[in-house]
C-alpha cells in the first residue's frame, strides 16, 4: 500500500504541491491525471526518493520512507520501479545493455546470463528486434517500451509509469495497456500510471485521481469520474476547450 | 583479408578526414573574419563590451595562475643558483626576459583559450542548438560577422594587454619570493636590463596571434554544435582542446621563426 500524506513541495516561489493526500491499495492500478505542469511527475518522484517533500509523509507498506537516507532508499527502489516520462535510457549503451544493467548490478549475473534475461523482458514489450541498437536511433515510442522493460527487470511489487503511452501509436498504446493489466492480474503489481490517454484511463484504471492546482481534485472510480458534476473534472474528462480550468 | 585492410584504412583514414574537415572549417571562418575586417564591417560597441567581458573574466584567473607560476619558477631557479654559484644578480633580469619571450604570452594564451575559448563555444553552441543562430540568419545577420568578428578583435587586444599584466604579476610574485626566501632585494630582482626591444616584440607578436586565433577556433567549434546539451558539451570540449593546441602550435612556429630567421 502506498500513502502520500499531506505532501507540500515548492521550487523557489513555485508552490507545486499544496497538500496532496492519496492512498493506493495493494494490487490496484491508480491513474493519476491532470493538465501538463500540474505536478504529477513531481508527486511520483517522491515515492522513490528522487525528490524530498517540504512537509508531509510518504508511507510504503506501513513504513515511513520520507526521510530515509539515499543509501536506505536503494532497497525501496528495488521493489518500487519507475518508468520516466522521457524514457531516460542510457545513450552510451545498446538497448540490450540498458535492460541487462540491473541484472548485472543486483543479481551479479555474468554478461551472457544477464543478456538472456534482458531479452526475455524485451520480448514482453516486443522489442527483441532492437536489442543491438542504440537508444538514440529509436523513436520515442520504442524508447518508452524499452524503458518499461528495464523497469520490470527486478520484478518490482510497485511500478510507477510516467506517461507510458504518450507519443505511442494507438496499437502500441493498447499493447502497453494490456501489459499493465496483465502485470496487475498475473503478478499482483500495484501501479501508479500518469496519463492523459482517456481511452487507457477508462479501460485499465481501478481508480483515478485528478491533481489540480496542487490538490487532489477528485479521487474515485472511473464511474465516479464519468458522473462527476465538478465542472473542472468534467471539462478534463471530456476534453472540452473552454470551461473553468486554468491552464 | 580485404575486410581487414579496409578496416585498417578506415582506422587511419577517419581521424585524418576528421582533422582535415576541422581544419577546413577553421580556415573558412578565418576567411570570413578577414573579409569582414577588410570591409570594415565591425560592430564597435560589441567589441568594447566583449573586451570588458574578456578582461573581467580573466583577470582573477590570470593573477592566480601566473602568480603561482612566478613563485615556483623563481623558487626552483634560485635553489639551483644557491647550490652552484650563489650570485643572484642575473636571476631577476633573466626571469623577466624569459617571461616576456615565452611564458607570459603562452600561458596567458592557454588560459584565455581555456577561459574565453570554452565560453565562446558554450555561448555560440547554445545559440546554435536552440536555433537562435538560424533566427539570426533569417534576419540576414551573418553569424560570423555578428558573433565572431567582435570577439576576435576584443581578444586580440585583450590578450596583448593581459600578457603585459601577466609579466607584471609573475614578476611581483617572483620578487616577493626572492626577497623573503633568498634575501634578494627587490631592486636587484626587478631590472629590465636583459629585456631588449626584440624580446618585447617577440612576446607581443605571440600574444597578438594567440588572441586573434582563439575566437576563430573556438567560434568554429561553437557554430558546428548540433543536437541538444550533448552537442554543446562536445563543442565546448573541442573548443578548449583546439584553441589550446593552436596556442602551442603558434608558439612553436613563432619561436622557431624568431630563432632561426631573426636570431631572437
Amino acid at each position: 500500500m502506498i500513502e502520500f500524506i499531506d505532501i507540500h513541495k515548492s521550487f523557489g516561489p513555485k508552490h507545486v504541491l499544496r497538500g496532496v493526500s492519496l492512498t493506493v491499495e495493494q494490487g490496484q492500478v491508480l491513474y493519476l491525471v491532470g493538465s501538463s505542469g500540474a505536478g504529477k511527475s513531481v508527486l511520483v518522484k517522491h515515492l522513490v526518493g528522487l525528490l524530498r517533500p517540504d512537509s508531509g509523509r510518504i508511507v510504503l507498506d506501513g513504513r515511513d520512507i520520507t526521510w530515509l537516507s539515499e543509501a536506505e532508499f536503494y532497497p525501496v527502489r528495488k521493489k518500487c520501479a519507475m518508468v520516466f516520462q522521457n524514457s531516460t535510457l542510457f545513450d552510451s549503451m545498446t538497448v540490450l545493455d540498458n535492460v541487462a544493467l540491473p541484472y548485472r548490478k543486483h543479481h551479479r549475473l555474468d554478461r551472457a546470463e544477464a543478456s538472456r534475461r534482458a531479452l526475455e523482458k524485451l520480448a514482453l514489450v516486443d522489442m527483441e528486434h532492437a536489442a543491438r541498437r542504440f537508444p538514440g536511433d529509436l523513436g520515442d515510442g520504442l524508447r518508452k517500451r524499452v524503458a518499461i522493460a528495464r523497469a520490470l527487470t527486478l520484478d518490482p511489487e510497485f511500478v510507477i509509469f510516467d506517461e507510458p503511452t504518450t507519443g505511442l501509436d494507438p496499437v502500441a498504446a493498447a499493447n502497453v495497456d494490456q501489459l499493465i493489466r496483465s502485470l496487475r492480474n498475473d503478478t499482483g503489481v500495484t501501479a501508479i500510471v500518469v496519463s492523459h490517454d482517456l481511452r487507457s484511463i477508462f479501460t485499465v484504471a481501478d481508480r483515478i485521481a485528478m491533481i489540480y492546482e496542487g490538490h487532489i481534485r477528485l479521487d474515485g472510480t472511473p464511474e465516479d469520474f464519468r458522473r462527476s458534476a465538478d465542472p473542472v473534472v468534467s471539462q478534463f474528462i471530456h476534453g472540452r476547450p473552454d470551461g473553468p480550468m486554468k491552464i | 583479408m580485404n575486410a581487414a585492410l579496409e578496416r585498417g584504412f578506415r582506422a587511419v583514414g577517419a581521424p585524418l578526414v576528421a582533422v582535415g574537415s576541422h581544419a577546413f572549417g577553421i580556415y573558412s571562418v578565418f576567411a570570413q573574419v578577414v573579409m569582414a575586417l577588410l570591409k570594415g564591417a565591425v560592430r564597435w560597441r560589441e567589441v568594447v563590451r566583449q573586451s570588458y567581458l574578456i578582461g573581467n573574466r580573466s583577470l582573477f584567473f590570470i593573477t592566480v595562475t601566473l602568480g603561482f607560476l612566478g613563485l615556483i619558477s623563481v623558487y626552483q631557479v634560485a635553489s639551483q643558483i644557491q647550490r652552484i654559484l650563489p650570485d643572484f644578480t642575473m636571476m631577476g633580469p633573466a626571469f623577466i626576459q624569459l617571461m616576456w619571450r615565452e611564458f607570459a604570452p603562452t600561458i596567458t594564451g592557454l588560459m584565455i583559450a581555456t577561459r574565453v575559448g570554452s565560453g565562446i563555444a558554450a555561448e555560440i553552441g547554445s545559440m546554435v542548438v536552440t536555433e537562435q543562430v538560424d533566427a539570426l540568419r533569417m534576419c540576414n545577420a551573418d553569424p560570423v560577422r555578428y558573433l565572431i568578428v567582435p570577439r576576435t578583435i576584443a581578444s586580440t587586444v585583450m590578450v596583448m594587454m593581459l600578457t603585459i599584466y601577466a609579466v607584471f604579476i609573475a614578476t611581483i610574485a617572483g620578487m616577493v619570493l626572492a626577497d623573503v626566501v633568498f634575501n634578494v632585494s627587490p631592486s636587484t630582482f626587478v631590472s629590465l636590463s636583459m629585456v631588449s626591444g626584440q624580446d618585447v616584440v617577440l612576446g607581443l607578436v605571440k600574444a597578438l596571434s594567440f588572441g586573434f586565433w582563439i575566437p576563430i577556433v573556438a567560434g568554429q567549434a561553437g557554430l558546428s554544435a548540433s543536437g541538444g546539451s550533448a552537442g554543446v558539451g562536445w563543442a565546448t570540449t573541442r573548443a578548449v582542446v583546439a584553441s589550446s593546441f593552436a596556442v602551442i602550435l603558434l608558439d612553436f612556429i613563432i619561436s622557431g621563426i624568431g630563432y632561426t630567421v631573426f636570431d631572437l
Binding site: F73, P102 | A122, V232, T237, F252
Partner: protein, 263 residues
Amino acid sequence: MRNVLVGPVSVVGRASMGLMATLGGATMLLGRILRALLPPRFDRDEAWRQLYAVGVKSSAIVMVTALFVGAIMVIQTAFYVQRTGATSLLGFGVGFTVFAEIGPILIGLMFSGRVGANNTAELGTMVVTEQVDALRALAIDPIGYLVVPRFIAMIVMMLMLMALGDVFAIIGAALTADTLVGVDPSVLIGDILDSHLLDEYLLGLGKAFCFGVSISVLSCWYGLGVRGGATGVGRAVNNSVVANAAAIFFIDFVMGWIFPVGL
C-alpha cells in the same frame, strides 16, 4: 562612486565564495569516492571501459602536444645557452623543464581540456536528461557506477600519458635540435640521459598523479552539478576547465615546493 568601491570587493567576495563552495563540494565528493574504494565497491566493467575511452580520447593530443613542448623548450634553452656559451647545459635545461615543470603543466592542461571537459559534458548531459536519476531509480549508486570508474581511469591514464609524453617530448626536442638549432640529436639525448634527471622524472609523475585526482574530482563535481539544459552544460564545462587549470598551477607550485629537485 559606490559602485566603483563595491565592485572589486564584491567580485573578490563572490569569487572566494565560489571557491569555498567548489572546494567543499569537491572534497566531499573525494571522500565519497575514497569510501567507495575501501573496500572496493565500484563497477569493474565500467572502469575498463572508461580506461579505454579516456586513453583513446587523449593519447593523440597529448603525444602531439608533448612533441611541441620538447621542440619549444629546445628553442628557448638554445637561446640562453648560445648567449652564455654554456653548451653543456642544453641537455640539462631541456630535460629539467620538460620532465619537471613545463611538460607536466602543458600535458596536464591538455588532458584537462580533452578528458576533463568531455567528462563534465557527459555527466552534465546525463543529469539534464535525467539519466542520473534513472540510475538512482534502478537502485544503482551513481558514485560507484559513474564517478569511481572515471576517477580510476583518469589517474591511471594521466600517469601513463605523462610517462609516455616525456618520451615524445624528447623526440620533439631531438628533431628540433637537429633541424633548427644545429645540435646533433644523439648528443642532445646523450646529454639529457647523463644529467641524472630521475628525480625530475619522478616529480613529473607525482604531479601527474595529483592532476589525475584533481581533474577527475573537479570535472565530475561540475558535471553532476549541472542545472538548466544545454546552456547549463556549456557553462559547467567552462567552469570545469577553468577550475582545473587553476588547480594544475596550484598543485605544480605545492609539489615543486615540497619536493625540490635539481642539481
